[in-house]
């Protein structure tokens, strides 16, 4: 019998620990198996009547087992996330009782958690502060401000700076520029994004040919998607249908930045329960999805011309009223953070100062949802001319790739990127193809973030400390070290290197905020197995 943890998709016909992403403690020899057929001596053997506990510590990603309430010591370190409790039975007749916390555990898990709570609290309390960083209020305000500036939430940044008596060190115009570019990227309008970048930061892309190539490949993908402006102008379809996105299966629905943004900000800005926020977030982003269609369309094509769709009126109105009601709406502001995190074109429009009424948004929301669900997606929006334009663009891209290779040498990443993008054309329904995830709007995020960082880096090179994060920079080695331990997945962590300690801090705050979650996880992953021998049952895994 083996007791342990497995990631999704691990072979259920084998004992936990033997395969990749699977970890187990086996009763016959007492060894621990860490994704390997060869065990390491770990603990005692166990058998009928023993109670075995398995505890995953989500703070340091370790796991230990208990036997009859006695801790056997750490079995695994550096565990990946999202593991499931697993029991593997091999001998006929083995029976297991699992306890996920419905009965009291034999091992005193509460006591263990108390120790960790104290530890983390002490870690936060003892965190070293330099002389200039001693003023907590100021520091936290700077953190928030620099975060807002970095991600280009200029209206929020401005309002925040005003209410906290700070100066925003990057001029607003510059933030707005970056924001504009980000919006275009996240809306899938890559052509315009590239053009705007070239206009505003003339030599930037010249100096970053690989970045330009990445942007162009993304543009190609957006052409296939039918969202890029170059193919959109060729399509003859209504604005509604043009922009409807496939609904992403992710809980934090599609055109969003990494959910960790929302979380971090939530923890910084408010201490409220997370469930309330999540629901707010979801409904809000739903609204955004539908809303965006109109706005981006009207923005690009029909800017000032005939507005024949009724909903568009309301949206335009909201835009014209923008900044006015900004500070009056505190509650909205919170939701706004999320939507900001979403980084969505239209959402920024109204979130950063919309006076749009809730019911209006809901109206258009429901309407659009019906619309989009009935839609079938077509290559390049279904227009023949658009397809031709896309093919032509593909050839240009191929040429560019060859040129790049001549000039800068081989680049496997670029090669793969291009190959993947071209593979989309091999399928009649690219969205449902094995390479279809490239079309997912979520894939815009890394591109967006890379471009944003490149702009920030280029600016700070020209003008030292333009983004004044140096105050929070890794001044002492300890904070620098801690930075490297922050998770590197998700776009939220692709900020420039100077602001390491921001993440460091957020890491700490998240930790303390995460403890209730930890408790929950303990409950579900700390389980108890008791054996009894009755009847013969086939080997099974739970």
């Amino acid at each position: 019998m083996g007791i342990g943890l497995s990631a999704q998709g691990v072979n259920m016909n084998r004992l936990p620990g033997w395969d990749k992403h699977s970890y187990g403690y086996h009763g016959d020899d007492g060894h621990s198996f860490c994704s390997s057929g060869t065990g390491q001596p770990y603990g005692p053997t166990f058998t009928t009547g023993d109670v075995i506990g398995c505890c995953v510590n989500l703070i340091n990603n370790t796991c230990f087992y208990t036997k009859n309430g006695h801790s056997l010591g750490i079995a695994f370190t550096d565990l990946p996330p999202n593991l499931y409790p697993t029991v593997g039975l091999q001998t006929p007749g083995e029976v297991v009782d699992a306890n996920f916390g419905q009965h009291p555990f034999v091992f005193d898990i509460e006591d263990y958690m108390r120790e960790w709570r104290t530890k983390i609290q002490a870690q936060i309390d003892r965190f070293p502060i330099g002389d200039r960083e001693g003023e907590w209020q100021t520091m936290i305000q700077k953190m928030v401000s620099s975060y807002l500036v970095h991600h280009g939430y200029c209206a929020t940044a401005e309002a925040f700076a005003r209410s906290t008596d700070q100066t925003v060190l990057e001029e607003l115009a510059s933030i707005k520029n970056r924001q504009r570019i980000q919006k275009l990227v996240l809306a899938g309008r890559m052509g315009e994004a590239i053009e705007t970048t070239q206009q505003l930061y003339p030599s930037l892309l010249e100096r970053n040919p690989n970045l330009l190539f990445t942007l162009k490949v993304r543009q190609f993908i957006e052409m296939v998607n039918g969202t890029d402006s170059e193919v959109r102008c060729l399509g003859g379809r209504s604005p509604k249908s043009q922009d409807s996105y496939p609904v992403s299966p992710r809980p934090f629905s599609s055109p969003s930045m990494s959910p960790s943004h929302g979380l971090n900000i939530h923890n910084l800005a408010s201490g409220k329960g997370s469930t309330a926020h999540f629901s707010g977030f979801e409904s809000c982003s739903n609204g955004i999805i539908s809303n965006k269609a109109h706005q981006s369309y009207c923005h690009s094509k029909h800017q000032s011309s005939n507005l024949n769709v009724p909903e568009l009126n309301s949206i335009n109105m909201s835009r014209s009223q923008q900044v006015n009601n900004f500070t009056s709406n505190d509650v909205d502001m919170e939701t706004d953070h999320y939507s900001n995190g979403v980084g969505e074109t239209s959402s920024n429009g109204f979130l950063n100062g919309s006076s749009k009424h809730d019911h209006e948004m809901e109206d258009c929301d429901t309407e659009m949802e019906v619309d989009s669900s009935q839609l079938r997606r077509q290559l390049c929006g279904g227009s023949q001319a658009a397809i031709e334009r896309m093919i032509h663009f593909g050839r240009e891209l191929q040429a560019m790739s060859e040129q790049l290779r001549r000039e800068c040498g081989k680049n496997t990443a670029n090669k793969k990127m291009l190959k993947d993008a071209f593979s989309l054309l091999a399928y009649s329904d690219p969205w449902n193809s094995p390479v279809g995830n490239q079309l997912d709007p979520i894939q815009r995020e890394p591109v967006c973030s890379a471009l944003n960082s490149a702009i920030l880096v280029s600016r700070s090179q020209r003008k030292a400390a333009i983004v004044n994060l140096s105050l929070l920079g890794p001044r002492n080695p300890q904070s620098a070290k801690a930075t490297s331990s922050c998770p590197s997945n998700g776009t939220g962590h692709t900020m420039s290197r100077t602001d390491g300690s921001i993440w460091n801090w957020i890491l700490c705050i998240r930790h303390s905020g995460r403890l209730p979650t930890l408790a929950m996880h303990f409950k579900s992953s700390h389980y108890i197995v008791a054996f009894s021998q009755h009847g013969s049952r086939p080997a099974l895994q739970i």
Binding site: G69, S71, G73, R114
Partner: protein, 644 residues
């Protein structure tokens, strides 16, 4: 030039300091009481944190004057209090300061001060007393010389959180041994201190807890009382369990684990009680972890060793908890090579604790391996374990040596295990063979010459275990290293345990026929002498029995038999013990006879005849009627040898 100038300058600085110190002392003699008070206050401010100044003032005779002012009835309470504060400050300095204060009879003066009605003055006296009694140079007996002191201190416990803290601290430092425990217990220490465990002040809770740990240590009376004490509706053991929760300060966890350990060892809490098995034991294992300070790891390991020593189930649980056996291996890595290079302060700290860590680890290994063969195997298989023990046996610190030999002794109970392991070492590292084999033997033999009886017992005990079913070479090594002179010295050792284990060693050396003949051929004369001596001496039954067993072993040899058969004196003694009133001795003597007359062996006929002539057969007939079935059977079997 610079050198010439420097000396006078330094001297003048020194004299200035002395001059200013003198000024402080002079002011204590001012006729104006107000000026005296101000002088004492100024002195207080001058000595805080200044050891040099403290030493100066002591040399200049400030202490007797301060004590005079403190005891003078005309002194205001304020002045008295300030005097006590200054004296307390002086006591905070070096050990020499404390000695000087003791020489001026400060303790009776301060104890007298406790009779004052003024709380501030009492607290100042107690603080000073606390500092003096917690110094290692103060004899704790001074607290008990005046019988009225303890009851008065008990009464003062209710006065304030400071009196509580200081008095508990004094008790926990001055309670050494059962006499002190009894005095404090009889004056109601348990009832008076128990409720302090729920005090709002952490310091008070902590000092109260420390009191209980010293009160309960090896004291069944106190321990039995403690289990039934209620504080705020909760039993004391439950309160201790709460205090060892993992979010409590380490000091508190460790001390409450000690309290529960001592209560358990004193028989007041069962070893299978959940508060021991699921709370105290895991807590103590955690105290051994690398995350803890070196001092905490030493205390944790020692306390755990003490807790599990008599109970095999606790040993088994501890052995699987948090990889304890591997964790202990880390105790031998101090000072680490890294600390030596990078950080002198750390090196110093490591060095200071290195001996303590090693002896604590040896003690815990000894307890862990005391009973269970599987645990011993796990310990012996720990990396470098045998090398560490061998090194430990030759360390300069007696504490480490004793712990190492205890550990070896504990592990050597599983004789098979140990020798296999030694041999394995030899196989792996042929060069290590002489060091490991004869090295260990020599070290153990050396220990048998120690002044310390515990070292002698454990040394000879380990040798006895090593000789059990050992190969000829190891036996020869032991005999050679020990020397017959030492063997005889040990046979006349004043310590009964040493004598018993030495006889055991002899018996183990003299087993299996070839070994017996070999050893008796070289040392036969001396061994027979020794045996004779013991059988003639005033010894208890166990010693005589063990000696007769040695004779029986000798009788089992082929050539060695003759040493008995040709020794009429010994034969008479065997005959005597066959008729002894104690069955054990009769049985042991029977063994000798059986071995001598056994039929199938060469020359058995002659031996049978000789023994018959001595009247042995008559005795055998008598014994075959014995009510003791064992004895009766043996006698019948022996008689059959004659019939065949």
């Amino acid at each position: 030039m610079a050198c010439l100038l420097e000396t006078p300058i330094r001297m003048s600085v020194l004299s200035e300091v002395t001059a200013s110190s003198r000024h402080y002392v002079d002011r204590l003699f001012d006729p104006d009481p107000q000026k005296v008070l101000q002088g004492v206050i100024d002195m207080k401010n001058a000595v805080i944190g200044n050891n040099k100044q403290k030493a100066n003032l002591i040399v200049l005779g400030a202490v007797p004057r301060l004590l005079y002012l403190l005891q003078q009835e005309t002194s205001s309470t304020e002045l008295k209090t300030e005097c006590a504060v200054v004296l307390g400050s002086l006591a905070m300095g070096t050990e020499n300061n404390v000695k000087s204060l003791l020489d001026c009879h400060i303790i009776p003066a301060l104890l007298q001060g406790l009779l004052s009605p003024d709380l501030k003055f009492i607290e100042a006296c107690l603080r000073c007393l606390r500092t003096i009694f917690t110094s290692p140079v103060t004899p704790e007996e001074l607290l008990y010389t005046d019988a009225t002191v303890i009851p008065h201190l008990m009464a003062l416990l209710s006065r304030s959180r400071y009196t509580q803290e200081y008095i508990c601290q004094i008790f926990s430092h001055c309670c050494k041994g059962p006499d002190h425990q009894t005095i404090l217990f009889n004056h109601g220490a348990v009832q008076n201190i128990a409720h302090l465990l729920t005090s709002l002040s952490y310091k008070v809770r902590m000092q109260a807890l420390k009191c209980f740990s010293v009160l309960a240590f090896e004291n069944p009376q106190v321990s039995m009382t403690l289990v039934n004490v209620l504080v705020d509706g909760e039993l004391l053991p439950q309160i201790f369990v709460k205090m060892l929760q993992r979010d409590k300060p380490i000091e508190m966890q460790l001390t409450s684990a000690k309290c529960l350990t001592y209560m358990c060892r004193a028989g007041a809490i069962r070893t299978d009680d959940n508060c021991i098995v699921l709370k105290t034991l895991p807590c103590l294992v955690r105290m051994c972890s690398k995350e803890r300070l070196l001092e905490e790891r030493v205390e944790g390991a020692e306390t755990l060793a003490y807790l599990i020593e008599p109970d095999v189930e606790l040993q088994r649980i501890a052995s699987i908890t948090d990889h304890l056996i591997a964790m202990l291996a880390d105790y031998f890595k101090y000072p680490s090579s890294v600390s030596a290079i990078t950080d002198i302060k750390r090196l110093d700290h490591d060095l200071k604790h290195a001996h303590e860590l090693r002896q604590a680890a040896f003690k815990l290994y000894a307890s862990l391996g005391a009973n269970d063969e599987d645990i011993r195997k796990k310990i012996i298989e720990t990396e470098n374990m045998m090398d560490r023990i061998v090194t430990g046996l030759s360390e300069s610190s007696v504490k480490v040596r004793l712990a190492a030999v205890r550990c070896l002794h504990s592990l050597s109970r599983s004789v098979q295990q140990l020798r296999t392991s030694f041999q394995d070492h030899a196989v792996w590292k042929p060069l290590m063979k002489p060091i490991l084999e004869s090295g260990a033997v020599e070290l153990l033999c050396g220990l048998t010459q120690s002044e310390n009886p515990a070292l002698r017992v454990n040394g000879i005990w380990a040798l006895m275990n090593m000789a059990f079913q050992a190969e000829q070479k190891i036996k020869a090594d032991i005999l050679r290293s020990l020397s017959t002179e030492q063997l005889f010295r040990l046979l006349s050792d004043s310590d009964l345990n040493v004598l018993m284990k030495t006889l055991g060693l002899l018996r183990n050396l003299l087993s299996t026929r070839p070994h017996i003949d070999k050893i008796m051929s070289t040392h036969g004369k001396q061994i027979m002498q020794a045996v004779t001596l013991i059988l003639e001496g005033e010894h208890n039954i166990e010693v005589k029995e063990q000696t007769l067993c040695i004779l029986a072993n000798i009788a089992d040899g082929t050539t060695a038999k003759e040493l008995i058969m040709t020794n009429d004196d010994i034969l008479q003694k065997i005959k005597y013990y066959m008729g002894h009133s104690h069955v054990k001795l009769q049985l042991a003597a029977m063994f000798c006879i059986s071995n001598l007359i056994w039929n199938e062996e060469e020359g058995s006929q002659e031996r049978q005849d000789k023994l018959r002539d001595m009247g042995i057969v008559d005795i055998l007939h008598k014994l075959s009627q014995s009510p003791d079935t064992n004895l009766c059977d043996k006698a019948k079997t022996a008689l059959q040898q004659y019939l065949a």
